[in-house]
């Protein structure tokens, strides 16, 4: 602690002398400072995340009580969405599609990469800022515009996109057709995607260059905190997987607006009418291009989450991570493999044995590094000294829940069991068990962990624990029943599963899921209160409240413009906790002895 104190004071005093004072707009709105941009990303994407969650809480009503008017707020939605408070199937489908899109593209990715990556990564590598600060600002604003465009879908006739977040053609081409195609939900979705993809591309270029070029002296690649590694691999995934979807989105736009037939096969008969398309296209082409993005995208959702969890675990176990190099190699391997497993989403599209065998094999191979990472994190607990603070609780909840998510991927990755389980609630349960702990809980862990760095104050522990227990119980109760619903054969994306005998039979489980989802939603209230109240009322803390080793804690709090009063030099690996013979139980990376 004492080692940094003089930096702190010097930093606060010298800061501001060298730079002309900026106006409000340049300082807080159109800022090029990675920390301001990170906070902008965080606030925007947390808002979107909450909005996306509200959408699903609405859907859960229809699922639990099909055809019953939504209580209290049902009347607010108007005749085109909920006549008499009863949700229409098209509105239900819109909610489903937008829930997926908003959570993935507007919530989690911008939070993990845009917010945490932006704020923490340059600090952790000892850089004064991102390599291209103006580009960074542009990424944020393109993302912001993309989000606004996406939301306008709700206000056009016909409603927001309702062909699922996967937007499978030809459904996405033939649905929501109107005279002015530019102002229909699906077209707006495609335009929004183009913005969001562009934003991610700009961001990923920036991240990679920053990590390669701006590391502090002595910070070799194998001394990088695991979180930085995760951001590095993630940026490559974004950089190379997103463009094919951008191309695909352009092709689908052409199909919708210019009447081309990229995804439209010959001889379509839609609503009893022979289609006007010339045909010759392939619906599977969209799926290939989409999943070429969307499988790496899954890893974009969880790799930074694993990074955060690793940081928190190393810090709160007070000992080095088990197998740091093994973790890094697994991460890189995961990144590579994630590009050649995409067709396991398409086993049911009429795939021959050879191709199914190939993609099932790559899928089984990719499960190995995941198991290795999970095992390494578990072994890190051995012989440690665990502090059960709120970030650590979320990080610990990640371990068993992510294990469930990973394990339930096995029956889906093997083609034969997938025949029964494909596109059922089992799939929903599986990937929510991956992204809820892997992304959402990791995000919470990260917020509780780094909040003191951003504001200089800690979040309230009691409210945090209330939030944690509500979320863990809620999440498990939402998603565990889904495995049984899926096992019974109930398809996903059904407006009313009781139509089928096998669905009506497990309706009780679906109702439990719904109540749990609302409970999960309510559990976020302490968090929201905590988040805003602690800005002023939180307990003031020092620059390094968690007694952590990585460089972001070596700056004053909050970090000044330019981050480090003196650019640090790194002498050791990232997690030197409980070193024998050291005076304290942690040795920061920038301390010589």
């Amino acid at each position: 602690m004492a080692a940094h104190d003089h930096h702190t004071h010097d930093g606060h005093q010298t800061h501001g002398h060298g730079h002309p004072e900026l106006g409000f707009w340049r300082k807080y709105v159109f800022s090029t400072d990675h920390k301001i941009i990170g906070v902008q990303y965080a606030i925007t994407s947390l808002t979107f995340l909450f909005f996306g969650f509200c959408l699903v809480m609405l859907m859960r009503w229809q699922l639990a009580f099909p055809g019953k008017p939504v209580p209290l707020i049902g009347g607010l939605f108007g005749e085109t969405m909920m006549p008499g408070g009863v949700m229409l199937p098209e509105f239900y489908n819109s909610l489903g599609a937008m829930h997926g899109t908003i959570m993935v593209f507007l919530g989690v990715v911008p939070l993990l990469v845009g917010a945490f990556g932006n704020y923490v990564m340059p600090l952790q590598i000892g850089a004064p800022d991102m390599a291209f600060p103006k580009l960074n600002m542009m990424s944020y604003w393109v993302y912001f515009v993309g989000g606004i465009v996406m939301l306008t879908g709700f206000f056009v006739p016909g409603g927001a996109a309702n062909s699922g977040w996967t937007s499978y053609a030809p459904l996405s081409v033939v649905s929501q057709v109107s005279r002015n195609m530019w102002f229909t939900g699906q077209t707006i979705w495609l335009l929004g995607m183009v913005f969001l993809i562009t934003s991610s591309l700009l961001g990923s270029v920036n991240f990679i260059v920053t990590i390669i070029q701006l590391r502090a002296k002595g910070l070799e690649f194998f001394r990088l905190p695991f979180f930085v590694w995760a951001q590095f691999v993630t940026a490559f995934l974004l950089l190379l997987a997103f463009p094919p979807l951008e191309a695909a989105a352009v092709l689908q736009l052409m199909d919708r607006v210019a009447g081309t037939s990229f995804f439209m096969p010959t001889g379509l008969v839609v609503s009893g009418q022979q289609g006007h398309w010339t045909g010759g296209g392939s619906p599977l082409l969209w799926q290939h291009l989409f999943w070429f993005l969307a499988h790496p995208e899954v890893y974009v959702l969880i790799l930074p989450g694993m990074g955060i969890v690793s940081e928190v675990i190393a810090n709160n176990t007070r000992k080095p991570l088990w197998g740091y190099r093994v973790l890094v190699y697994s991460l890189v391997f995961l990144g590579f493999m994630s590009f050649i497993v995409w067709a396991h989403h398409m086993f049911m599209t009429g795939m021959g044995t050879r191709m199914a065998a190939f993609f099932a094999t790559t899928t089984m191979i990719i499960s190995v590094p995941s198991v290795v990472i999970l095992t390494a994190l578990l072994l890190s607990l051995h012989g440690s000294c665990i502090r059960f603070n709120v970030p650590m609780l979320f990080a610990l909840a990640f371990l068993p829940m992510f294990a469930i998510g990973g394990l339930t991927g096995l029956p889906l990755g093997l083609p034969a069991p997938d025949i029964h389980l494909h596109d059922t609630y089992y799939v929903i349960g599986h990937f929510h068990y991956v992204v809820v702990p892997g992304s959402i809980f990791a995000i919470f862990a990260g917020i509780y962990h780094w909040y003191p760095k951003v504001t200089g104050r800690k979040l309230n522990e009691f409210l945090g624990k209330l939030h944690f227990w509500g979320s863990v119980v809620g999440a498990n109760l939402v998603f565990m029943p889904m495995f049984f619903v899926g096992m019974a054969g109930v398809s996903r994306r059904l407006y009313d599963q009781t139509v089928y005998q096998h669905g009506a039979n497990v309706q009780t489980l679906t109702q439990i899921s719904s109540f749990a989802a609302w409970f999960f939603g309510l559990s976020q209230i302490p968090f929201i209160i905590n988040f805003f109240a602690s800005i002023r009322a939180g307990k003031k803390v020092s620059d390094n409240p968690w007694e952590a080793t990585t460089l972001e804690w070596a700056t004053p709090t909050p970090p000044p413009h330019g981050n480090f009063p003196v650019i640090p030099v790194v002498y050791r690996g990232p997690y030197e906790y409980s070193v024998p013979g050291a005076s304290r139980d942690y040795v920061p990376q920038n301390v010589t002895a």
């Binding site: 099909p66 229409l88 459904l171 578990l378 096995l410």
Partner: protein
Amino acid sequence: MRVRSIGLWALAMTPVVFLATSPVAWAQTSTAAPITAKIDGKYGYWLPPDLSQHGSQIDNLITILHWFMAALFVGWAIFLVRCLIRYRARPGHAACYDLIKARPAKAVEVAVVIVEIVLLAGFSIPAWAKVKNDLPTEADTIRVRVVAEQFAWNFHYPGKDGIFGRTGPQHVNPATNAVGIDLSDEHAGDDVQTKEFHVPSDKPVICEISSKDVIHSFSIPVLRVKQDAIPGMRIPVWFRMKPGSEGNYEVACAQLCGNNHYNMKALMVIETPEKFAAWLTKAGEKEIFED
């Protein structure tokens, strides 16, 4: 701060308590038309009943996998809980800098790899190859063309001559000729098209799945059959029933296909050969094609 937050929390929980205890809320309702035919089969909280001969392969694999998953999970969970208790921070306890040797962990990883290889190469791929490629070759195999549309399943039987009449999109008439049979074809006269899926219980069935408009998915949970209906393609699936599986079942759509996707179901009737023959004759007589 603390007291206020507890108060807020309690306030927030009231609607949950209210909803959970409300008997009205728990009453089951449905937006769909009442099911006219009684659906047979016993449904529990695990896999649905299995009527097909290949289904047990899939079911066994699913069961084995879940035992394997449970074993792994329990192992991990025991280790986790032990660590959480034994290594919790407390006065007089400090972390140890040295990392443990992880022979058991490596053994577990190797075991996972081996089990995955066995499941994949030994069970999954052979089962898949059988379901996808080993189409039945018996002369009396029932062939059905399944044509999906928004939001119904159409079934096209070749009739007595066993040959499908020629089809084309220009012949489609939504009311009378949903599968687009060309009536001028010599094989078309005896063809049968229906919205109900009838099959005899003693013969293998090959369904050729296709779609007129968007992607659907032909799913029969009780037969462990699922195949996407891709417009512009014709993809076969086949199944063979276990003896004594006569009854009424449901064909579902498993791929989002539009607003009424949830209600795109067809009645599947598995019946004795005699009943099936009688039904086919009757259905053929009723047919009136207009072009």
